[in-house]
């Protein structure tokens, strides 16, 4: 592990029953990087992100995950101090994971749980700073009109933007985004990608973002990691991600995908 590595995954494996979702994955992430995590469906992208934020244990064994120099999990056991680490890692879930019966506002305000008083947080007495941050984030994504609507009555894209707003309010040092633009229209998608890039460039945040649109990956990220069947099959700059590499990752059919303007 390099000293500058803000996140380090070493020899992480994860088995569900017979299925190997992660297969000896090792990854060093340095402060200020913006990484696209790509790979076919079921290749283990979500599993990897969930393991980093310790929402899931990796298999017992040599696998170790550390963040900010401290352990996250090790030998199949989650570190007991992981809470503090989590407050510094913002996670955007593929399925949004909003609390359906709470308003969009409350859902986004939950982002501040880790940084406000314990009882204040438990009772929902959001400080003015949280309220402003929430409304600013909602406004930034164009969903401030929906602040008082229940999360489960929002449209797919509205929920997704809500989930991203929550991570923003969290003011984390690392952002893990699992397909943050999947349900978004082109303009919203672009806005979200711009925000991630801005957080990375201006605020120096480390970002790992799962993407299915290879073009987004190529455009916004300086490093691309590709998973295939739980294994890291590519780790390098987007410029090296040539057509045959992509075919290697996604299979021979990838040839037909980029009918125009595809990288050659």
């Amino acid at each position: 592990m390099t000293d500058a590595a803000v996140l380090s995954i070493r020899n992480a494996s994860k088995t569900f029953g017979q299925r190997r979702a992660l297969d000896d994955v090792s990854l060093e992430v340095h402060k200020g990087e913006i990484i696209a995590l790509i790979g076919p469906s079921g290749s283990g992208k979500s599993t990897l992100l969930r393991s980093i934020s310790a929402l899931q244990t990796i298999d017992a064994g040599p696998g170790v995950i550390t963040a900010f120099g401290g352990p996250v999990q090790k030998d199949g056991k989650i570190d007991s101090n992981v809470r503090k680490t989590r407050t510094r890692i913002g996670m955007i879930f593929q399925q949004f994971n909003l609390v359906g019966r709470l308003s969009l506002f409350s859902n986004v305000a939950l982002g501040s749980l880790g940084r406000i008083g314990f009882w204040q947080a438990a009772l929902g007495l959001w400080p003015a700073e949280t309220k402003q941050a929430v409304m600013a984030a909602l406004h930034r994504f164009g969903i401030s009109d929906y602040a008082s609507q229940r999360a489960n009555t929002l449209s797919g894209g509205q929920q997704q933007r809500g989930a991203i707003a929550r991570a923003l309010v969290q003011k984390a040092k690392i952002i893990l985004a699992d397909e943050p633009v999947a349900s978004l229209d082109p303009v919203s998608a672009r806005r979200v990608m711009e925000i991630l890039r801005e957080l990375n460039e201006t605020d120096g945040l480390t970002v790992i973002v799962t993407l299915h649109q290879v073009d987004y990956a190529l455009r916004y990220c300086k490093r691309v990691v590709a998973l295939k069947a739980g294994k890291v099959v590519y780790d390098g700059p987007p410029s090296d991600l040539k057509r045959d590499r992509l075919i290697d990752i996604y299979g021979p059919e990838f040839e037909d995908v980029f009918w125009e303007g595809a990288p050659t």
Partner: protein, 267 residues
């Protein structure tokens, strides 16, 4: 278009080993029903139809409710409701932490299992014993009844609360966890909003059954509608019984409607 290579695989078949637990459970249940058929005298069931005249005759006593003492009944109903409201409220206050501690998806096994067994014990101790324990401390009357209701109800509610908690969707909880919220925050923001409608309906169900409960209150002299009901039945006075039952029906229906109203706000 492109089709996946290879032949279409056959549909999945569950092996005997995978089915074994299900077969075991169903086999046991059917076996038990068969074994219990004789001792439970189920073969006498046809009597239910051949002797239906008896039932009608008995029922006849109930068709002329006697509302002479209706103020007494309503007063007693009110008295029971007052005890039930305190008993149930105290029970809820204890059942919430106990229920959460007894949930496998919230609490580690080394705490969850003992709590679960403790709750089993609380539910197993007879009402009368619980009632008597409070009776000798605070004397006969409403308070002993309230405490007895509170203990008995908390055992049941904590169990029901925990099983509702175990059925929740873990997505929202993980969402809260990932923000770095503490366990309590996960519960307040991830668990409670999901279980609120069910917990409310359990609490109101127990409030309702405490309000019509005769057993423990009557046993220890706490009075209430149940006592009056038992007395009227003891005197073979079915007209009064019918009137009392009608009072209870009205109360139960009101509580049920309240329950639905609160739940529909939460759903």
């Amino acid at each position: 278009m492109t089709v996946q290579p290879g032949a279409i695989p056959p549909p999945p078949v569950r092996t005997l080993a995978q089915r074994a637990p299900d077969l075991l459970i169903w086999g046991c249940l059917i076996g038990l029903l068969a074994i219990a058929f004789g001792p439970a005298e189920l073969y006498k069931l046809p009597l239910l139809f051949s002797n239906s005249a008896n039932m009608q005759e008995l029922g006849r006593g109930f068709i002329t409710p006697d509302f002479t003492h209706w103020t007494l009944y309503v007063g007693k109903m009110w008295q029971t409701i007052q005890m039930a409201i305190w008993g149930t409220s105290l029970a809820i206050v204890t059942a919430i932490p106990l229920g959460l501690l007894a949930s496998r998806n919230i609490t580690p096994a080394f705490i969850q299992v003992p709590i679960r067994r403790l709750l089993d014990v609380v539910r197993s101790v007879p009402d009368l014993v619980i009632g008597m324990i409070f009776l000798v401390a605070v004397g006969p009357g409403p308070l002993a009844g309230v405490m007895a209701l509170a203990i008995g109800t908390s055992g049941v509610l904590a169990k029901l609360f925990s099983e509702a908690t175990e059925s929740i969707d873990r997505g929202p909880v993980e969402g809260v966890r990932a923000t770095g919220g503490a366990k309590l925050h996960e519960i307040v923001w991830g668990v409670i909003p999901q279980v609120a409608p069910l917990w409310t309906s359990y609490a109101l169900y127990r409030f309702e059954s405490n309000s019509r409960s005769a057993t423990v209150l009557g046993l220890i002299g706490a009075g209430g509608i149940g006592q009056v009901l038992v007395d009227s039945m003891n005197a073979f006075d079915y007209s009064s019984t019918a009137a009392i039952v009608l009072v209870i029906i009205v109360a139960v229906s009101l509580i049920d409607m309240l329950s639905q109203a609160i739940r529909s706000r939460l759903l």
